[in-house]
Symmetry: C2
Subunit: 110 residues, 2 copies
């Protein structure tokens, strides 16, 4: 479950701009703020089932986007390669400060 | 016009998986294979106007996806940073072959 939550957090992060405002609200309350389905239902004055269905559909949409665009997968692969660049710099005792600034800029671009 | 074609080629490359098969066919014939609207219309036995409308709509969709996900913009920024890493390696006379392999892997990930 924790693993699923982490994955959904990432997928939400990458694809939230493709969701509707309501989908974003439910997902963000459920996954980021750790609200229960019942609490979200109360907040929006809808049934618990309606919230559940909406979140399930949104999760499926996020997985579909990931299948098509692979942003999360590429992000993970990029992180590994960036880590390797840091290791290579360390073992070659590279001191150039601009190198580390550039690596950080690359990491922030995700 | 050439600049627009280049941009559309990139946007198509990044977001084609989000298009319908018909949108993909028209866009790829028009932008990659340099067919005219008339030639595509003939191939698909539809009016030239129908092809034109479809392509215009698809172009607008691609620009909307780019507005939301910024994949092309981030790609360009990443290319600049990777170029800078190569320059830093050169001026520090870094010889480590794994560095260049890792940089190439990063470039290929786009």
């Amino acid at each position: 479950m924790l693993e699923k939550t982490t994955r959904m957090n990432y997928l939400y992060d990458f694809y939230q701009s493709l969701l509707t405002p309501k989908q974003r609200s439910y997902m963000s309350l459920y996954y980021l703020d750790d609200y229960s389905l019942g609490e979200i239902a109360e907040e929006y004055e809808v049934s618990r089932q309606a919230v559940y269905d909406n979140i399930k559909r949104t999760e499926a949409m996020l997985e579909e986007y990931e299948e098509k665009l692979l942003l999360f997968q590429k992000f993970q692969e990029r992180q590994k390669l960036i880590k390797k660049l840091r290791e290579i710099a360390a073992r070659n005792q590279l001191q150039d400060e601009e190198f580390f600034k550039t690596i950080e800029a690359l990491e922030k671009l995700e």
